[in-house]
Amino acid sequence: MAGSQATIEDDEMVALIAKHQPMLRAVIRSMVPGYVSGHSDGDDVLQETNMVLWQKRATFEPGSSFPAWAATVARLQVMAWRKRSVAHRAMTLDDDALIEKIASRAAELADDMDQRREALRHCLAGLTAEQRELVQQRYFSKESLVDYAAQRGLTYPTLKKNLERVRTRLRKCVRLRLAAEAS
């Protein structure tokens, strides 16, 4: 049963790909800041990267760093995607050295992603109900923020400003918790 041996490896590969989705999403989003992620076609590069990781799974050396390998694939996918249209170019970072620098941070991002998730969980709990609702609207609702703003009787720019404040607060809170754990 040579087949069953291969299936186990396949399982492991899919598990690795699944586990590192947040890291890959973060790395790709950083390389393509123009992308409206979470929207219908916003995840193209991530999906393509997943597919290429799967198709090239034979070239991954067991024991080597999966995040580093995956981020290299992601970097090449981003650069290929950027070439495909003017719109893609406009969304993507132009500086190849900077893109490479971001890819080189992948292993580090992957390492503390679980701590970040845990920290985010705590930090979200520290928000006001209103702030939490705003985060939920942005990331978990199909309703557009424009509609949500109208519903709340706010202008869109005001809502965006509020979202910016919440994000700053969450980022600093997560950073503090990570630093506290590291020390």
């Binding site: 790395v27 198709q55 900077l98 985010l120 519903q151």
Partner: protein, 480 residues
């Protein structure tokens, strides 16, 4: 780098809203300042963590690209199924934050159960941690994947899902079933999965592209093998799941197609327009509910918000050829209260819920006033926006429903359950006559609206040409 400008740049990058100039500025800062790069990666990591609920999609979707390589596809799908539990666990942490349920700490210790195989003639019956009652009939193979989710590779399953366990998911090789607080039956074999909905409603989710479809009470669908990704309606078979078959039901259905029994405009507003030149009946006229049959394109608004209303809105009906929408469509209607009334009917109290699909908003008030004559003439920020059951004899609103929060521009299923109907009408004689009112008494801050399609009522229309006035007193008054 702690200037307000930098925070705004970060936030705009997180929303994909950078101008070309801002992108250049961002690149310069990231290149020159290591601390900026750190913060940028922190921000994007938080963004990615907030989107883990999309992970399943980003992993399942590449399937479509390798679909021509059958063995590749099968290996991928099998592997994805195997790791479904870890994704569920990951997605679960968010609900901890948003639900106030005291039991939510349970999600901390979600574990995947063992794979269980039942032989022919063997049965299993147990309760999920979420409270779902599950019964399985062998031959079957299943595995619990968390508090409120199990994978069924083959066999027959029935589930009673209490309201707090809404979202109970059955993962099958051919597609998933997501329950929305109901009683359902699921049958799985190698090539297909069948969903039978005995009460309430449930959703089937195809493995490719996350296509999903809502299935209502007393309905059933078959989902085919993923290579043939699709589903079809079939007839419900309660006996397959050891349930007594129900007597043939008679339901009234309104698809708002040209041949349907018409609903009546019982409350309309004054002339309104939104200043378009030229105007059309879609953008000007007496504000009212209208049944629009065929292809409808609502023109782009002059006074659009940002880029949202840039393009014409196209409203596909939820089913059939027609749907009900308020006209003129856009936020300069007259702000009058609007009401549309169904033909009169009698109810069968034990034949399932009233179901319908609603677009638009959900208003403010949980329910309409007690009586139809108490509805205000003008919509305001406190009003009700939804569908209500009215007893014709005295004009009393007995029960009502409004849509759940969601995208205004998508059809949302709503339901008045069989038990709610029974409780609301328990003192009425069997030949009591009712109507449904579609009510808009809400505006906030400028405009609000509601559309309707695919109404199903357990009952029968009152036959013959009855004098409307005798049946619907308020209609007589309004028509004079």
């Amino acid at each position: 780098m702690k200037t307000p400008r930098w925070e705004s740049l970060l936030s705009r990058a997180q929303d994909g809203e950078l101008s070309a100039e801002e992108k250049r500025e961002l690149e310069r800062l990231l290149r020159e300042d290591e601390a900026s790069l750190d913060q940028y990666l922190d921000a994007m990591a938080l963004d990615a963590l907030s989107q883990e609920h999309h992970d399943e999609e980003s992993i399942a979707k590449p399937l479509a690209h390798v679909a021509n390589q059958a063995t590749e596809t099968r290996a991928w799908r099998t592997a994805v199924l195997a790791i479904a539990a870890s994704l569920v666990f990951v997605a679960g942490w968010w609900s901890l934050q948003t639900s106030d349920s005291p039991s939510s700490s349970r999600a901390e210790r979600v574990v995947t159960g063992p794979r269980v195989v039942l032989a022919k003639g063997q049965n299993a019956e147990f309760e999920m941690p979420s409270g779902v009652q599950v019964r399985l009939r062998g031959p079957a193979a299943y595995q619990t994947l968390g508090d409120n989710q199990l994978s069924l590779t083959s066999g027959l399953l029935t589930a009673n899902v209490p309201p707090q366990a809404t979202g109970f998911r059955v993962v099958t090789p051919n597609g998933d079933v997501v329950d929305h607080g109901t009683e359902i039956g699921v049958m799985v074999d190698e090539l297909q999965t069948e969903l039978h909905v005995f009460e309430g409603q449930a959703e089937v989710v195809l493995p490719l592209d996350g296509v999903s479809s809502m299935v209502g009470a007393s309905k059933a669908v078959r989902v085919n093998h993923p290579n043939n990704a699709g589903y079809e309606p079939i007839s419900i078979q309660p006996s397959l799941f050891g349930k007594p078959a129900k007597a043939a039901s008679s339901r009234i259905r309104f698809d708002f197609d040209s041949n349907d029994e018409a609903w009546t405009q019982t409350q309309t507003g004054v002339f309104a327009d939104r200043g378009d030149q030229p105007t059309s009946n879609l953008t000007a006229g007496q504000s009212r509910y209208e049944t629009l049959v065929g292809f409808v394109k609502l023109p782009a608004a002059e006074d659009k918000v940002e880029s949202f209303h840039d393009n014409p809105l196209q409203f596909a009906p939820q089913s059939g050829e027609g749907r009900v929408l308020p006209l003129p469509f856009h936020f300069r209607d007259s702000m009058s209260s609007l009401r549309l009334t169904s033909p009169p009917f009698r109810l069968n109290s034990n034949d399932g819920p009233i179901t319908a699909f609603i677009t638009g908003g959900r208003g403010h008030a949980e329910t309409p006033p007690d009586f139809v004559h108490e509805l205000p003439d003008q919509a305001d920020g406190e009003g009700f926006l939804g569908l209500a059951l009215r007893r014709v004899r005295d004009g009393r609103y007995l029960c009502s429903v409004r849509r759940r929060p969601g995208n205004f521009y998508e059809w949302a299923p709503v339901e008045i359950s069989q038990s709610t109907l029974a409780a609301a009408t328990r003192n009425d004689p069997a030949d009591e006559v009712y109507v449904l009112d579609l009510i808009d008494t809400y505006q906030d801050p400028r405009w609000s609206w509601i559309g309707l399609d695919t109404v199903s009522i357990p009952g029968r229309l009152v036959p013959g040409r009855l004098v409307p006035g005798r049946l619907v007193p308020d209609r007589l008054v309004e028509e004079q």
